[in-house]
């Protein structure tokens, strides 16, 4: 449990050469699956994540239906081979928690009241995991919702900040997550910057929190630009095809 000391920042550079406030490389593809209503694929550092959306559609079982709005459900799943030590198939407690907070985050922006009694299902598959998967998953899911044509008040963009070797940095990768001092994943409505997901663990003073929070919001803003570009490209591609 005790985290060994490890020098994670040297001469202002991190293990992978990034500056403290620098994101890993992010690549987004829209509409990658045939059966789903909408889908997106995100590569973010070594993370590889697929998100798919089905719906709005009939919700089963019936007792889950809400006569005033659609119910958005989310399943976050880690593929057995996505981590170095094989993960047993099926949901564990961590996945259940991430699924819950992700569904809540997306419900903040989707115009659920337009589809009373309906269900909207969001599936997030982590194909390769390297820290920050819940942020990658939400980022992908949000693009998939847009690809599905589901009306949203805003796009959700996510990013983490954290503290490693005493310094607040953006977007932790695996080694930084393992040996760092704290992690603060957030997701925001891209334009208003209101937070829709916020979790944190480790040790942060109030001041460190504020700094990390603002860094993460800034990261999410950069993520949003990449989401927007990918969506724009997909719309244009469709136009060209048409």
């Amino acid at each position: 449990m005790e985290k060994p000391d490890m020098e994670l920042i040297k001469d202002g550079k991190r293990l992978d050469g990034r500056r403290p406030d620098e994101l890993r490389e992010i690549k987004i593809e829209v509409g990658v699956l045939k059966r789903a209503t909408g889908s997106a694929y995100v590569e973010w550092g070594k993370n590889k994540v697929l998100a798919a959306v089905y719906g709005p559609r009939e919700l089963h079982p019936k007792f889950l239906r809400n006569p005033t709005k659609a119910v958005l459900r989310c399943i976050y799943n880690l593929a057995p081979f996505s981590v170095e030590d094989r993960k047993r198939p099926g949901p564990d407690r961590r996945s259940v928690e991430i699924s819950k907070v992700s569904a809540e985050a997306l419900s903040s922006v989707v115009m659920l009241e337009r589809y009373p009694n309906a269900g909207i299902d969001v599936y997030i598959e982590i194909l390769q995991a390297d820290a920050g998967t819940r942020c990658v998953g939400l980022t992908a899911a949000s693009v998939a919702l847009a690809d599905a044509g589901i009306p949203m008040k805003d796009i959700v963009a996510a990013c983490a900040a954290g503290k490693i070797s005493g310094e607040i940095v953006l977007d932790l990768m695996k080694e930084e997550d393992n040996y760092g001092e704290s992690d603060l994943p957030i997701a925001v409505m891209s334009r208003k910057k209101d937070v829709v997901l916020l979790q944190m663990d480790g040790k942060l003073t109030r001041e460190e929190f504020k700094k990390a929070y603002e860094l993460a919001v800034n990261g999410a803003t950069q993520v949003y630009e990449i989401q927007k570009a990918a969506l724009l490209k997909s719309v244009n591609d469709v136009k060209i095809e048409g």
Binding site: R93, V195, L198, K210
Partner: protein
């Protein structure tokens, strides 16, 4: 129920807009908190019964001997489990923990784990053998803010816990040696956002009415946070919630560490 919930939601929201709460508390006021340590002391290795207003949670600690994790071979192990017993609410069902119970257990777990409250190095017995600390949260009456009641009960029960005697590779049940080594007292404090106001310790009716909640577990630093609900939070609201949590935690900590 649904209509009643809807009307209460409305009523609570309007009250909050006027600066009031149903039970006349101030926005930054916790409900009455009572902690009964050692409640099931004849069988459990540690326990605490918590009443937070009408919310009742019993937490029991069971110590067992097990294997350490491969990546920390000299450290003891803690595991937190939460059961939302069907007697606690008409909405709880028997069966394995659902997403609400899972989130509850994980948030309590993080507050304790990340603060380093248990000195796990002192739970080493011999190669491949360490003490395993089971923290079992039993929610008995759910009248709002289960997370705080559970988190407070968990740390209180840990402070009450003793390590059983261990001889000839066997646990001697009913006899104990020393207290479980606890180094600090992490306290979770939950605020809710209703009608753009941030209030502390929401009760059941306020939970129906809230847009979102934010739990902040603190020692001298923040150790764990968790937002819940489908609403949003602005940066100032988050910072407000942190300040309130640090403030409330002081009184609660005194109570937890007492008697």
């Amino acid at each position: 129920m649904d209509i009643e919930a809807y009307l209460r939601r409305d009523y609570v929201t309007n009250l909050i807009k006027e600066g009031k709460r149903l039970d006349n508390r101030k926005f930054d006021e916790y409900r009455k908190l009572e902690i009964n340590k050692g409640y099931v002391g004849e069988k459990a290795d540690g326990s605490a019964y918590v009443s937070l207003g009408d919310t009742k949670v019993l937490v029991g600690i069971s110590m067992d001997v097990g294997e350490p994790y491969p990546d920390a071979p000299t450290s003891g192990v803690m595991t937190v489990n939460a059961e939302l017993r069907p007697m606690a609410s008409p909405h709880f069902e028997a069966g394995p923990p659902g997403e609400e119970a899972t989130e509850l257990a994980r948030v309590v777990d993080r507050g304790i784990r990340e603060s380093g409250a248990i000195d796990t190095e002192k739970l080493f017995i011999e190669e491949d053998k360490v003490w395993v600390v089971f923290v079992d949260i039993h929610v008995l009456d759910h009248y709002g803010n289960m997370i705080d009641a559970s988190g407070i009960g968990a740390i209180a029960a840990l402070l009450d816990a003793k390590i059983p005697k261990y001889e000839d590779n066997k646990i001697i049940r009913g006899e104990h040696t020393v207290k479980l080594p606890v180094t600090c007292t992490p306290i979770p404090c939950t605020t809710a956002k209703i009608a753009d106001c941030v209030i502390v310790d929401p009760d059941m009716d306020e939970e129906y009415a809230m847009d979102s909640r934010l739990t902040v577990a603190t020692t001298d630093t923040i150790n764990a946070m968790q937002k819940g609900g489908q609403g949003t939070l602005r940066e100032e609201e988050v910072l407000d919630a942190i300040d309130l949590s640090f403030k409330c935690a002081k009184d609660i900590r005194r109570l937890v560490e007492g008697n």
